[in-house]
Amino acid sequence: MTRKPVGAFVVTALALLSAIPVLAHHSITAEFDSSKSFSVKATITKIEWVNPHTYIYADVKDENGTVTSYSFEGGPPGALRRSGVLKTMFNVGDVVTIEAYIAKDGSKHLGLLHAVHFADGHMIFFGRPEDSEGKN
């Protein structure tokens, strides 16, 4: 036995506990507000290219040098691949500007990926057409 599973359980439990009042507060509405977006310059720290949804994690440093970790959610890997977005387009350590839609619950460090802009000027778009059918 190690202490790691216990720690993981505690983290999971805390996450769930924090999520429940959030959902209740919003009476089951969308997690993200597609009408409001934000943009941050960030350094990619972790890439999760997994079903059912991908995540890109990134650190944002403010003018005082304080670092804040953000989570950005994307579509499923298959849909992204079909739309031309591949895991290999991103690397830990990349300094990018991320456009994302805000979380409706007020989570300031969470976003729904819209686009990732790279320093050389190219950008990658995210989209989930299967979601737009409203029936998945």
């Binding site: 959902l23 190219h122 979601d131 737009s132 998945n136």
Partner: protein, 279 residues
């Protein structure tokens, strides 16, 4: 917080889709940008449907929802039927069933939503509420459907055999097929009662009987029309409009629903709703 809600993504969708489309077009004009892949034209008919050695239409191939024949951001190409051309009546419920559905809250709808609870779509959901592609592998006497969604599969004998006399309930049910001309008719009974036929409370009973009528009117097009009889829940049988899929020349990928944490969240929310009197 790592919560992803299928319904919320749907809510963001139309706008996102349009934004992505617009961005994609802009990207093509920019320098060094990454245009999104998105098919923009409906597939042509593509000539007559192929046939298997026994002379029946061969449905084999990878099929995408709508008319694009693959991935598209274009919502018009993802539509499976035009209600102005082939109208589809809403299901007519028995009074008790209508009352039950009317009493459901938005939380109940989310708890019953397969993209939240990660239950299999099953039959007939795999044709009615499944935006992911599937592959059909057909041989004389056998229809095999491989679904990208949750790597589900179904195997249907098409030799006209009878149903099992004592089937156990299952998500895809006890299913047997036979040909009526160029239409494959799959008859399904003994469907697990936990599935819904839509995302707004259309539950079903152990008496549900589903008839799927599958045709391939041309090389690139597949039509599926679903009839649902369920005398305990419906006041009359319901028949869908013919739903359209189109042929894609690419392989299936893997998609698994693993949003199981959401179920616990919604259950907790439901407990709050019913126990605490909170609003």
């Amino acid at each position: 917080m790592k919560v992803c809600l299928g319904f919320c993504l749907a809510a963001a969708a139309a706008v996102l889709g349009m934004l992505c489309m617009a961005s994609g077009l802009a990207a093509q004009e920019g320098s060094g940008s990454q245009p999104a892949k998105s098919k923009q034209q409906p597939m042509p008919k593509g000539g007559p449907a192929p046939r298997t050695a026994d002379g029946h239409p061969d449905f084999s191939g990878v099929w995408f929802v709508g008319t694009a024949g693959g991935f598209t951001y274009n919502p018009a190409l993802r539509k499976q039927f035009d209600p102005k051309v082939t109208p589809e009546e809403p299901p007519q419920f028995q009074p008790w069933a209508a009352t039950k559905i009317k009493s459901m809250t938005a939380t109940d709808f989310e708890l019953g939503r397969a993209s939240v609870n990660c239950m299999p779509r099953g039959v007939p959901g795999m044709f009615l509420i499944n935006p992911y592609p599937f592959q059909i592998v057909q041989t004389p006497g056998l229809f095999v459907q491989l679904d990208e969604l949750n790597n589900n599969f179904r195997v249907v004998h098409t030799d006209g055999r009878a149903h099992s006399p004592d089937p156990d309930p299952s998500f895809d049910g006890d299913e047997v097929g036979h040909w009526e001309g160029d239409t494959l008719v799959i008859d399904v009974i003994a469907i697990d009662e936990r599935t819904w036929n839509n995302f707004t409370g259309w539950f079903h009973s152990d008496q549900e009987h589903v008839i799927e009528r599958i045709t391939r009117p041309s090389m690139n097009y597949l039509n599926v029309q679903v009839t649902i009889e369920d005398p305990k829940v419906l006041s009359k049988p319901w028949t869908s409009a013919p739903r359209v899929w189109t042929l894609a020349h690419e392989d299936l990928l893997e998609y698994y629903c693993t949003n199981n944490q959401e179920v616990e969240e919604y259950k907790a929310l439901k407990a709050q709703e019913s126990g605490g009197g909170k609003k």
